[in-house]
Symmetry: C2
């Protein structure tokens, strides 16, 4: 059984070709990083993942967190891992030097997340959550809050969380009812209940810092009355000592997968003694949270991509070593061959690569835009592109990842269904991704209901420009001409479908327009990933044409071209069916009466 | 939370409309059963499933079988259930009166399997395996073997199994190496090892009877040297006492789902004292086994259908009661609505019904053909149709069932991912079905490589006749005209695609022809299920037009028509993309060199 959970060669290829394709005007957005320095970081991350995270991949699943007398106990390695990630600067890396950080570009952070999540998704989640929460405090919090919370969080001693969901407010965040009553300037008494809080409490850290949405007493109802607070488990008193902040763990959820991370329910202010500290302006909580949410969504997409990647490497190893059957056209008495020689098995492996490598490439592309915007916040083009593609980068890996891991499992036959191999765990770990940080349905409404129409469709126009540039580049390679043509045709179909939906909106209203938004998102994903594959194919062709000679490199680039070819012949065409469904929709999903479901 | 795991109304609708549509010439194949008698059986089965099987659905998963000192311990209810199923005649029901059976038609048995599997898939598997094994003994075994084995098996005291797979022979059955050395006429010394044997040993019965494939010493290599044996765990000695037969349990597999049934590895003849008794003629074992395998494959399809159905009912209940969000076009301050009112949620529910009810209908259709063939074994048309559609009836529910249960889970959001609700277990239980009794890849090769081409394509022609008859009937209902046209167009696409693949076979050989067989199977499934939906829509229309008046019935029939409409507008079009992929395949799944996967 292989210990390989990702391909460094492929990650480097994706990272460097994405960087190479970026507009050189913005190169400073990488904060001085070059190929060599980035490779060093990746190599160190892989080393840590191999030594500390991957060996306990199964153990963290088999021995999940427990809740005993209000205390959440997690795998003992969690404390060790968080301490190292703190001490060695992994958590602070993307923070400015003033916070002992390295100003590491987001793109590189995504690569690190990829490596860690492929090694052990549950183990990787803790620090990812802390980074997100700390970034929120850095961006919107007062200097006083920063001084208290950032150092221990970046040191891996305190856990950060995002506390949004409530029992009656999940997708409908605007309905949340956790209350904040003013005590002192910036200080509020918090009361309420939150559920589904990842790493919401555990004994791998000394304190937990919830970035929490709540409603200030008297605030307007709905999304515009929500504010953001820091609500720690232990709060510093006037002497600077940590005292109990009246945050109680009510439950931990027992889950299908992602079992190494505790998902908790918490109750706030049971004894009337829970303090929350306002972050940013009152009633602007959703705005602030969504700034972080966007990168959290990319991170979910990357988690899904990483899990699919790890499952693929398990499947590949099995297919290369498992002997079963023989070529149809060969002699009947030939010895059995490795199953990778069967076209049906190759198809399954090609599919897995098409999904996971395509998704990786897309998220790194989004990372580049994040970095550009960090330094040049007024670059509207990249802002709109990032906004447009975030729901795709979150959902495509999450939804297609289910199919991809399912195919990994299928490659192993009966063994895939057994705990002896890691794929069944990947299958379970994967299934959270279309749910957390906004379900696929929510992403679809975001894409079609907000992003496609914002600024009169400007984002879609920018995307088309990006794709046109890619096609032009690819078209220079003879072998890629037909792929470029297929992408051009796909863009045409996307435009036609979007237009048809726009007409539907005018004729029948917003509900009809959005009824099948999820299918639109799926179709959109197929095209966007085709664009990524065309870009990768162009980069691979260039590498081959400009003298790649080392055999392993040549095979790698040729493999890339085959997967691209597979994507265009076997995956992209599915968008036409989706377009057909959308254009010819007769409104059945809108019209089905609820009472017709009974019986 | 609902305790409902299936809809009796829908099962009766499917059963009775399938029976009503059958050629009346063959009505005797139902062995005297009519609507009323069948409904009584279904009602009794549901009663048993509700009282004895469903209440331990979760418990059997959470407390899986253990192997201790060579003994497999299962949930104590297994013995009780098997005893009742034996005592009350459920196991013997499909057997002839001479074996205390009822000559129950297979169609009705499928319905019972559906009810039991929807209630608790693991609990339902035990008796299903015994019935299959006992049928093999009845069909091919000597009277002496029948007299020894059938009574205790049909009484639920002895477990039957199918022991085919070996560590090095799974999909490639012809390579199995378990040996049988002749001792006395019909009696052989067995030695070898088998894996993945469902219910291969457990303490819920007094004995286990393996229907086992092995190679008689000196037999030719490959599939034509394989014979079928009865290999009991305990064998009767000359005095009729049961003595140890040298069958050792080597392991039980720890699995993703389907955890209430032990899947075992067994070693045979370690001490040189394992006896096997030949069933049927030497070297004809695969032929005999495949007679049973066909109905086992339908049973797998039905298991998948049942699991998808149970998951759907959980999702439906949740969507009807969970309040979240409000209509896009309604007032912002309206109270939250039940999520079933959101079109995206309706779409997910419609999808689940489209898959599970379509699959149920197809398998019952196959059941009718089984029954006709049981009484009229020379009816070539039905023989060919059954052969053609068995791989579809096995694979469509298994593969699409994964998506269906995944959508059930999605309906519950974060709760769907938690053990508090049954859908996560359904998600795990479902995943075995594309693997056991022949993987999807194997079914695809069977369909395209054998069934489509057998007797010069005669089966496909018969299928088209059946579909034509259905379209004619449906076309009489104004509202179904466009669906009938869509099906006609789909048949055209199927024919065109099949022809294109035939040309490919001639030009490039069998390997190219079969390379994407799995996609062909998927496309085939879409069309076959459309045909089933058209038939159901016609039956529902007729019921409405001929005076259905009870409100619950009217809603049910109208619901059926909506789901049919959904299937034709949202699912069937996907076949066009698959046809496009197959017709335009450039052979990439064949040509990808194995060494291009590394890196």
């Amino acid at each position: 059984m292989t210990d390989k959970f990702m391909s460094m060669k492929n990650l480097q290829f994706s990272l460097h070709s994405t960087v190479a394709a970026m507009d050189k005007t913005y190169l400073e957005a990488l904060n001085g990083h070059d190929k060599k320095s980035m490779d060093m970081v990746l190599s160190a991350a892989l080393d840590f993942a191999q030594k500390e995270m991957h060996p306990i991949f199964e153990e963290m699943d088999r021995i999940p967190p427990t809740l005993l007398a209000g205390k959440v106990q997690v795998h003992p390695a969690v404390r060790r891992i968080l301490k190292t990630l703190g001490d060695d600067g992994w958590i602070s890396a993307v923070f400015p030097e003033s916070w002992d950080g390295d100003d590491m570009p987001s793109t590189l952070l995504h690569c690190i997340n990829f490596i860690f999540a492929a090694a052990n998704y549950s183990a990787s989640a803790y620090s990812g959550l802390t980074i997100g929460a700390a970034r929120l405090i850095l961006t919107f919090g007062s200097r006083a809050l920063q001084d208290i919370y950032l150092p221990p969080m970046l040191a891996g001693k305190w856990q950060g969380t995002m506390a949004l969901t409530e029992p009656d407010a999940g997708s409908s965040l605007g309905d949340l009812s956790t209350m904040a009553a003013p005590l002192d300037p910036g200080v509020y008494a918090i009361s309420g209940e939150k559920v589904f809080i990842s790493a919401g409490d555990h004994d791998g850290v000394d304190n937990v810092v919830h970035l929490m949405l709540a409603r200030i007493k008297g605030a307007p109802p709905g999304p515009k009355g929500i504010s953001l607070f820091v609500v720690p488990k232990l709060r510093p008193d006037d002497q600077g000592d940590l005292v109990d902040n009246d945050v109680t763990v009510t439950q931990i959820f027992h889950k299908l997968g992602y079992r190494g991370t505790p998902i908790t329910g918490i109750r706030l202010g049971e004894k009337g003694n829970c303090r929350g500290y306002l972050v940013g302006e009152p009633h602007r909580g959703l705005f602030s949270m969504f700034k972080m949410m966007n990168s959290a969504r990319l991170e979910v997409g990357m988690g899904a991509t990483a899990i699919a990647t790890a499952a693929y490497h398990s499947a590949l190893d099995y297919c290369q070593t498992r002997k079963q059957g023989r070529a149809i056209t060969g002699p009947r008495d030939a010895p059995q061959c490795a199953i990778i020689q069967h076209p049906d098995v190759k198809r399954m492996l090609l599919f897995q690569r098409a999904i996971s490598e395509g998704a990786l490439s897309l998220i790194l592309q989004c990372g580049i835009w994040e970095d550009i915007l960090e330094r040049y916040p007024h670059e509207k083009k990249y802002h709109l592109l990032l906004e447009l593609l975030t729901p795709v980068a979150k959902s495509f890996p999450s939804e297609m990842g289910i199919h991809s891991v399912s195919q990994s499992l299928q490659c192993l036959g009966g063994y895939g269904y057994c705990e002896d191999f890691p794929v069944e765990q990947h299958f379970r770990d994967m299934r959270i991704h279309p749910i957390h940080e906004g379900t696929t349905g929510i992403q679809a409404m975001d894409l079609l209901g907000r992003k496609v129409v914002m600024e009169k469709g400007k984002a879609l126009q920018f995307l088309k420009e990006e794709m046109d540039a890619c096609m032009e580049k690819a078209g220079k390679h003879k072998a890629l001409e037909s792929m470029a043509r297929d992408l051009a045709a796909a863009i045409g179909v996307l435009e036609k479908t979007t237009l048809a939906l726009g007409t539907l909106a005018m004729e029948k209203g917003a509900e009809a327009y959005l009824a099948d938004a999820t299918l639109y998102l799926e179709m959109f994903g197929h095209i966007v990933i085709a664009w990524q594959w065309l870009g990768m194919a162009a980069a691979a062709s260039t590498a081959l044409e400009t003298g790649a000679s080392k055999k392993s490199n040549v095979l790698f680039y040729e493999g890339k071209l085959h997967v691209a070819r597979y994507y265009f012949s076997h995956e992209l065409p599915k968008m036409n069916a989706l377009s057909h469904i959308l254009i010819n929709s007769d409104g059945v999903t809108l019209e089905m009466p609820e009472n017709c479901f009974t019986g």
